[in-house]
Amino acid sequence: MEAFTVHTGRAVPLRRSNVDTDQIIPAVWLKQVSRTGFEKGLFAAWREDPSFVLNDPAYAGASILVAGPDFGTGSSREHAVWALQQYGFRAVVAARFGDIFRNNATKMGLLPIQLPEADVERMQGKIEADPAKEFTVDLDRRELRCDDGGVLSFEIDDYTRWRLLEGLDDIGLTLRHADAIASFEQGRSSWLPVTA
């Protein structure tokens, strides 16, 4: 996983609530067996509309997505995270996230930043007023700073923050406890099913 420490970039406002993962990347794109090329499928249906915000040249190259509440609900497809990252996003700001999406994002190094709905809307307003505005996401200090001096604090649990800052692979961390897993397995009930 790519480490996430500090990132500075422009942002794009997505004023829609309940952006489910079927919208982030439609199912037809999930047939690929590789891990790359998903940026083409990002918001594929919505991008066909010339007035969709990602088609606005003012927001080209933005790397922070600022969305409405309940972003990433629905399907567990991690392809949604891959598509956002491969398109160029490093962080997503929203008032609420779907649980599985948030989990998937932190496994891949895409930072989900949860802020109160009013702060998200203010931020969207700022971006719309000046799309060139730059924001700095500082995971170490748990801060989102605007180049106009505004600072917003966000919460993230210590462990996830540490893992993201270090860019650590979860599997490697768990395998340090292989002995604990093996000893747990010794105590499992004999009636539990096996698939073989």
């Binding site: 609530s17 439609p26 779907g98």
Partner: protein, 465 residues
């Protein structure tokens, strides 16, 4: 202090607990399908890792499979490659697979319970959000992403932060003609698509106890549509009667030992939940969605709501957008909404009881002119059983299409899709924009409402016929 059902199952699976770190949770059963696994197997290969417990892992082909001719090669080359990749990965890593055409093939959440692999008190995961289905047995079951699929393949465990708990108590009994699907749609409309976020929901109360296992699976299946991490129902005699004699269920002395343990899997009287909701089953009627998320639902007898009546600005703009996408006008009676497609199937409503409910309604009737009705059993075993019961003839005589098992039009990864502008009444779980095909419009309904709708061509409850 007592513990909830969810806490008991969670605690019994903690491999390791350390201050400031997530718990490491042991996984009893890992279900795998073709869509969310290829990149996980690639990751194992790149790191030189093996599957730790192939004997606790099982795979099936479901999302991409065509539901017409199983003997012909899959026409879509990309789908075909994905299926072939799963076959290669299962062979390489020693995982049992139920491929297309196999008598055990079916939707991943239909075959687990059917084989008796899903049992009370287990932890079950799958790279699919509808894994919550298995909670109907009192298992802790939740969907994961591909990184976590790789993690479970490699370690048979997952780091987890202890979720909060929520009780949804459904008092009294469901009126005649009101089903588990109507109940869960009403619950989601009440608490919203984010209402369960961060929580494991336990469904309890008289109406839940009265549900069959199929009905309980329908309810738990859609927990994710309310944003919940998982849904659970305490095991009871209904659970045991369903399980007994299934291929992977314990037998003899093991069955007795297991049952004794399973009976302890209930929320203690003095346990507390982080959140509690009470629903009166007696007030419920057949339910239908009008919008583009599963929380946008109303009783079938109601009209399409007016966005101006939503107090929350985000809900108002979402409703405006939804009506535009759905091609609906506020105030239109839902009973006047005409459909051109009816889909009966999916991991929500593709089990034998669902097919029986739909068949009961269409028996001796005809699917309306201009409407196509697809009936897609959730597994090959469900299909066989339905055929033995004569349901295929009932559907065929009514003019419905009887198909092979798979996910089918729930998400249209196979050729079963809506065309732009087409409108369906669907027993599946998601009415998202484009979910059943680009530009398609979906109304979520129960199998009985789907069947009655097929007969009239408009959204209809069986009682209206």
């Amino acid at each position: 202090m007592g513990r909830t059902l969810a806490e008991k199952v969670y605690d019994a699976h903690v491999v390791r607990q350390a201050e400031g770190e997530p718990d490491l949770l042991y996984i009893d059963l890992h279900l795998v399908h073709e869509v969310t696994s290829p990149q996980a197997f690639d990751g194992l290969r790149m790191a030189g890792r093996l599957v730790r417990r192939p004997d606790l892992t099982i795979a099936t082909e479901d999302h991409n499979v065509p539901t017409t001719d199983l003997l012909a090669p899959i026409a879509d080359p990309v789908s075909r490659v994905q299926i072939e990749t799963l076959r290669k990965n299962c062979a390489e890593f020693g995982i049992r697979l139920h491929p297309m055409g196999d008598a055990g093939q079916g939707i991943v959440h239909v075959i687990g319970p059917q084989l008796g692999l899903t049992q009370p008190g287990m932890t079950v995961v799958c790279g699919d959000s509808h894994t919550s289905t298995h909670g109907a047995f009192g298992a802790l079951a939740f969907g994961i992403g591909t990184s976590e699929v790789e993690h479970v393949l490699a370690t048979q465990s997952l780091p987890q932060i202890r979720p909060k708990t929520m009780a949804i108590t459904v008092e009294n009994t469901l009126p005649y003609g009101v089903t588990a699907k109507d109940l869960i749609l009403a619950i989601i409309a009440r608490i919203g698509t984010g209402g369960g976020q961060g929580h494991i929901v336990e469904y309890r109360g008289e109406a839940i106890r009265a549900l069959s296992m199929e009905g309980r699976m329908t309810v738990c299946n859609m927990s994710i549509e309310a944003g919940a991490r998982a849904g659970m129902i305490a095991p009871d005699e209904t659970t045991f009667a369903y399980l007994e004699g299934r291929p992977h269920a314990p037998s003899g002395a093991e069955w007795e030992a297991a049952k004794e343990h399973w009976l302890s899997l209930r929320t203690d009287d003095d346990a507390t939940f982080d959140r509690e909701i009470v629903i009166d089953a007696a007030e419920l009627t057949p339910f239908v969605t009008w919008g583009t998320n599963p929380g946008q639902g109303v009783p079938l007898a109601a009209a399409v709501p007016d966005p101006a009546e939503f107090a929350d600005p985000a809900a108002r703009s979402a409703a405006e957008r939804a009506l535009e996408y759905m091609g609906l006008t506020a105030g239109t009676r839902l009973r006047d909404v005409a459909v051109d497609t009816v889909f009966v199937g999916s991991c929500t409503n593709g089990r034998i009881e669902d097919l029986r409910a739909a068949a009961d309604v269409v028996k001796g009737r005809r699917v309306a002119d201009g409407v196509r009705m697809l009936v897609v059993p959730g597994s090959m075993k469900v299909k066989k059983q339905a055929e033995q019961e004569g349901l295929k003839e009932v559907f065929s005589a009514a003019g419905a299409e009887w198909r092979e098992a798979g996910c089918s039009m729930c998400l249209g990864m196979n050729p079963d899709q809506l065309k732009p502008g087409e409108r369906s009444a669907s027993t599946s779980n998601r009415n998202f924009e484009g979910r059943q095909g680009k530009g398609g419009r979906t109304h979520l309904v129960s199998p009985a409402v789907a069947a009655a709708t097929a007969v009239t061509g408009r959204l209809t409850a069986p009682a209206d016929l």
